[in-house]
């Protein structure tokens, strides 16, 4: 019989615990602490109480950023929850050449968000492919300001996010659809249910938990969007900076030697709170639905 020392289990979990403390817990606590100071990257700063939060309430750029992030979420949430499911149902069928389509839909996911945004930037630019083609066809006389109008830029970024996310969530749904029992579909068909009815009565309840997971993932990603807006706006945040997301605003205040870490940390807390909100709401809806 081997004699086990009391600290053996602790030794085994110590590396993971240390990792968590140093790289997760400590930065989180530090962010909360910094939010109540006017700290600078090179040290210094002092406790300022709720001054950063008072400043945030008064910051019209934060208001714009919150509106942008919420619009982003409200548009992306239904589209990226339903479209990938329909796509997954389409590519689930065992047909010759279906692998090609699965791969094609998944390709944008593999590409870097920055590279994809750069390419879309060239496509949507005033002198880009879309405007050139539209003007050649005579559909428009002036270039459509996809990247220089506040709302068009925001919706261009949203389109890019949806295009890039379709394949990713499609794969998640594909694995969930494999768990929906075929007998249920057959029974529904025998009862006279058509494809649409079977979709709503069999498929959707079968992948309900996955839909919830996808909704949470989409909401969080949409609220934390950065790359698409940053690259499409050339780092400027759109005309007058009105297309900034909250993450872009945080980045603005953390850059350089004179970064305003206190205010950026306060904005991070605001982002954390608004990110937690939709998650809790979705979980509550799920419990109610159950």
């Amino acid at each position: 019989m081997t004699h086990r020392r009391w600290f053996t289990p602790w030794l085994l979990v110590a590396p993971a615990v240390c990792w968590l403390l140093v790289f997760n817990i400590w930065p989180s606590i530090n962010t909360v602490v910094l939010a109540f100071t006017n700290a600078k990257p090179l040290g210094g700063g002092h406790f300022t109480g709720l001054a950063n939060f008072a400043r945030a309430l008064d910051d019209d750029q934060l208001t714009d950023a919150l509106v942008n992030s919420i619009v982003y979420m409200l548009v992306c949430l239904p589209l990226l929850t339903m479209l990938p499911l329909l796509l997954a149902i389409l590519v689930e069928k065992r047909l010759p050449g279906i692998t090609f389509f699965r791969t094609a839909f998944y390709t944008p996911v593999v590409a870097s968000a920055v590279v994809v945004a750069l390419i879309w930037g060239w496509v949507l630019d005033d002198r880009g492919l879309v405007n050139g083609f539209a003007q050649w066809l005579g559909v428009v006389t002036e270039p459509v300001p996809f990247l220089t109008d506040r709302w068009l830029l925001l919706f261009s970024a949203i389109s890019l996010t949806i295009w890039k996310g379709l394949g990713y969530y499609m794969i998640i749904y594909l694995s969930a659809l494999g768990n929906v029992r075929r007998e249920l579909h057959e029974a529904a068909a025998v009862d006279g249910a058509g494809p649409v009815r079977r979709f709503w009565s069999v498929t959707v309840p079968g992948v309900r938990n996955t839909m919830l997971l996808v909704s949470v993932l989409v909401s969080v990603s949409a609220l934390r969007v950065f790359s698409e807006l940053y690259v499409l706006s050339n780092g400027t945040g759109g005309p007058g900076g009105r297309d900034m997301s909250v993450v872009m605003l945080i980045q603005l205040y953390t850059r350089g030697f004179s970064g305003h870490l206190g205010y950026a940390s306060a904005l991070s807390l605001v982002l954390f709170v608004i990110t937690i909100g939709p998650m809790l709401l979705l979980l509550r809806l799920d419990r109610k639905g159950s």
Partner: protein
């Protein structure tokens, strides 16, 4: 549950203690000391994106220094162009700033505030006599006694015109615009004749343009911004009118500083500003365009761009660090560097070098001579206290003003208020 919250509270207290927060205010700058002592031992030199293009030159300078001072070993670090400020920031925060570091004045200021750089005028009194006053002034900061860097090389902007586009659309490249009114007039001609396909103007106004219009950017004590004046509003209104007339591409609303040069290099716009070496780099990017470019002196006061070498106040080898910084920025070494790339020496002894004052007859040579002559009037147009966040906020407000979304006065007031807030926090 109560134990959980008290644990969290304790963690927060520990965190506060760990943050080292406390009243710092403006720290005393580097300690006063005239540095003397033997030049020997190890010393580190950090440059900014000079490898691989200038590896041979820098290595030659280092070899020369090591030959001059046997017993000295120079460790050369070169950081990539992207993210240099973040790299220096992490070195400064981690206490690992190299002995000698290439820092432009705006990078040096935050380090001066933390007492991390040596006052080289105290340690090496010759600095104010041997380097040009503009270069020395760039490393002299309000509220701090002394000079915190050896000026290394200088540059300024000249105008570059695409003569082919100008000729094709009814303009004379030999008579380019000399002021803003002429610029707008010629931009109108170019737009009309090209049917709006080509632009002359392609950048938003910046703080430097406000200075040209006679606007004072900051109060004398450097504690607040003052550029929300009627003159500044009038200039923004002129830009707004030009934008509304279609004399600038819509992209300027979301443009970055490089956007203007990029459009010029693509042959989409007919005017850009750049350093004395712009045609040389253009010959690489667009060889067919480079010969068609005509330079002209900058409109108004030319901007001064300064690079310098600063010495860490925490160096363990101050004699060697100071000697190295002085050696790299010596007239001979600066002249050799300026022969490789169109930058200009910061030492007074280099002023008579015919290499800078005589053109070889090419357009690149003309631009170099023009830039060199402009240096006498050039000055830093933007205050060094401007942070990246401030610059971005100003650009955003200017974009709103020229797009007509807000009035020029409102944009300027907002920009000043936001910059003041950042300056005071």
């Amino acid at each position: 549950m109560r134990r959980y919250w008290s644990g969290l509270g304790l963690a927060a207290v520990v965190a506060v203690a760990g943050c080292g927060l406390g009243e710092t205010g403006q720290q005393a700058a580097a300690p006063d000391a005239t540095v003397t002592g033997e030049v020997k031992g190890k010393v580190t030199l950090q440059t900014w994106a000079l490898k691989p293009k200038f590896t041979a030159y820098v290595q030659g300078v280092i070899d020369g220094f090591e030959r001059k001072h046997p017993g000295v070993t120079v460790e050369w670090l070169d950081q990539p162009g992207e993210g240099y400020s973040d790299k220096v920031l992490s070195q400064a925060a981690g206490g690992s700033l190299p002995d000698v570091t290439n820092l432009p004045p705006e990078f040096a200021l935050p380090l001066v505030k933390q007492g991390l750089l040596l006052d080289v005028s105290k340690a090496d009194p010759g600095v104010t006599d041997e380097y040009v006053s503009g270069g020395v002034a760039a490393y002299t900061y309000a509220g701090f006694q002394g000079v915190y860097g050896y000026p290394w090389y200088l540059n300024t902007d000249v105008n570059y015109w695409n003569s082919e586009l100008m000729t094709r659309y009814g303009l004379d490249p030999k008579k380019p615009p000399a002021d803003f009114d002429e610029l707008v007039a010629q931009a109108r001609t170019l737009k009309d004749k090209s049917g709006g396909k080509v632009y002359l103007m392609s950048r938003k106004p910046e703080l430097g343009d406000l200075v040209q219009a006679g606007v004072k950017l900051m109060s004398d004590d450097g504690t607040r911004f003052t550029f929300n004046t009627p003159e500044a509003a009038a200039l923004l209104d002129e830009y707004r009118a030009a934008f509304k007339e279609g004399l600038l591409p819509r992209d300027v609303l979301t443009d970055t500083y490089a956007g203007n040069a990029k459009l010029f290099n693509e042959g989409t716009v007919a005017w850009t500003t750049g350093g004395g070496n712009h045609i040389t780099s253009l010959a690489v990017d667009n060889p067919s365009l480079a010969p068609k470019v005509v330079p002209s002196p900058a409109m108004g006061t030319p901007p001064l761009y300064v690079q310098g070498l600063s010495v860490s106040s925490r160096t363990k080898n101050a004699p060697a660090a100071l000697a190295l910084a002085r050696w790299v920025t010596s007239p001979e070494n600066q002249a050799a560097f300026a022969h490789l790339v169109a930058v200009f020496p910061s030492t007074k002894a280099s002023a008579d070098d015919p290499f800078f004052s005589k053109s070889d007859g090419t357009n690149a040579g003309e631009a170099k001579v023009m830039a060199f002559r402009s240096l006498a009037q050039a000055r830093m147009l933007e205050p060094v206290v401007l942070t990246e966040a401030m610059k971005k906020l100003i650009r955003q407000q200017f974009a709103l003003a020229i797009s007509g979304e807000v009035s020029a006065k409102e944009a300027l007031d907002t920009a000043v208020a936001k910059c003041d807030e950042l300056l005071q926090n």
